[in-house]
Amino acid sequence: MSSPATSKASDCFRLKGSMFTLSMIELIHYSAIEFSNQLSRTVNQAPRFFQQMPVVISLEHLADDSTPDFKEIIEICRSLKVNPVGIRGGSDAMVENAFTAGLPSMGSVTPSPSPQRAQTSSPQPAAVEPSLVPARIIDRPVRSGQQIYARNTSLIVLAPVSAGAELLADGDIHVYAPLRGRALAGINGNTQARIFCNALEAELLSIAGQYKLSEDLQHSELWKQSVQAMLEDESKLQLSPLSLS
């Protein structure tokens, strides 16, 4: 009921600064057909995850002389229920074109050493090692309709995952309980990702887009067993028992 002293009762809004974590679509090269195809494939892997998701289009890896059609990009994205909200990087011409199409520039990142890293005197200052992203750990049952995404890391679940629930991770997925829902590991294309579970009763297992449905899994002798799933030759989803015996 009480409002801060700074805002008058008559004000209809307050201006505030805030930070958001947004996903980026990093364009490497652009053609409408390829873009549309790849995006629809990506979205179809986890439709609920992408629903109305705001994204930033990154142009930093795009050649300066390329001329992406931003109106087209917006259309393709919207048709797949992905919402582009801005661009990052790009040449002056691209920034201008994007702006006319309705995508403001979010600036560009110039690689600058973060102040924290500058202070700590690490023994190998030159080596740019990926910093450790701690795994996301869930210790409560994941219920039907819930979706959990471990961004840039692995997902560890210590309780049952119900049918109708969805686990997503850029890294591995571990489930130390029955896995009855869907598990999608390496969703950003990491073919080295694996899925481990205590009792395989999953609706779907997927690694880097290669998937198997419960229809295929049910008749395997590994059904309801401890299982790991990984990609063989980066393309074939293979299951193997986890038990040592």
């Binding site: 049952p141 219920r143 039907s144 819930q146 049918a163």
Partner: protein
């Protein structure tokens, strides 16, 4: 401080209203001042089950909209001294419920009542969300069949994410599983999920198992909460469940099929 208990399920027709009436009546029979609120705006049923449909003048939505006072809308049960019913509106829809309005009514009820039982509508839309939002405890009513179990699972997820306790980071809602329409004979034949199967999937503590019983339909049609039918198996099972809700330990009953006597075997049951 009043305890708010939501009776919910996701799926329709599994016995939420029957259970709300039985649990509310059971709590009141033990001397606790109890009110049962019908959140099923537009599809009012609780008044029928509790036999007070002819005494509805004002309803829950009237109170939410300040068109009537709480005392005008509350209906006192004729059988149990400490039991009251707050009926839903039959002419409105769920959009008539607002979080502020519901909160206002609950705060006012909490001043005089010990238990507030919220009879949730089916679904996961506004009516159901309003019924569970302020809850301290939840009774998840489930039938031993796969679609009901999955819907219950979904609603438990919602209790974890969309209730006030979840949003404000308080201690989570205390969940109880109430398995209704249980038929041990069909479980033995493998036609129905068993208690253990359901518990495996839902992983919440079991409050009780209500056997499939002719008494339930008969009581519903007569407007008697089945718990008052103390001779019936369903009535006794609800009685046990209410005791467990209050913290007593009771052994589970009615989990095995009754052995048929000689005559029943000869001439069919």
């Amino acid at each position: 401080m009043a305890k708010i208990i939501v009776v919910t399920s996701g799926k329709g027709g599994v016995g939420k209203t029957t259970s709300s009436a039985a649990i509310g009546t059971g709590l009141a029979l033990r001397g606790h001042k109890t009110v049962v609120i019908d959140f099923d705006v537009g599809l009012r049923n609780l008044d029928l089950i509790m036999n007070c449909e002819r005494r509805v003048v004002y309803d829950f939505i009237n109170v939410v909209n300040n068109e009537a006072t709480l005392n005008q809308a509350l209906i006192k049960d004729k059988r149990v001294e400490t039991l009251y019913i707050l009926p839903a509106s039959q002419t409105r829809d769920k959009d008539a419920l607002t979080r502020e309005g519901v909160e206002k009514v609950l705060i006012e009820l909490a001043e005089t009542f010990e238990y507030i039982v919220c009879d949730s509508p089916a679904g996961i839309e506004k009516g159901a969300l309003m019924a569970l939002y302020f809850a301290d405890e939840a009774v998840v009513v489930t039938n031993p069949e796969v679609s009901s179990v999955r819907d219950s699972d979904r609603i438990i997820g919602i209790l974890h994410s969309k209730s006030r306790r979840a949003e404000t980071g308080q201690e989570p809602i205390k969940e109880h599983l109430l398995l209704t329409r249980y038929d041990p004979e069909r479980v033995e034949l493998g036609e129905m999920l068993g208690v253990k199967d359901v518990q495996d999937i839902l992983a919440i503590p079991l409050l009780g198992v209500i056997p499939e019983s002719e008494a339930v339909l008969k009581c519903s049609n007569q407007g008697i909460p089945v718990i008052l039918e103390s001779q019936s198996d369903a009535g006794q099972a609800y009685e046990d469940a209410v005791s467990r809700l209050l913290g007593d330990e009771r052994p589970m009953r009615f989990l095995t099929a009754p052995k048929k006597g000689f005559f029943k075997r000869m001439f069919g049951g």
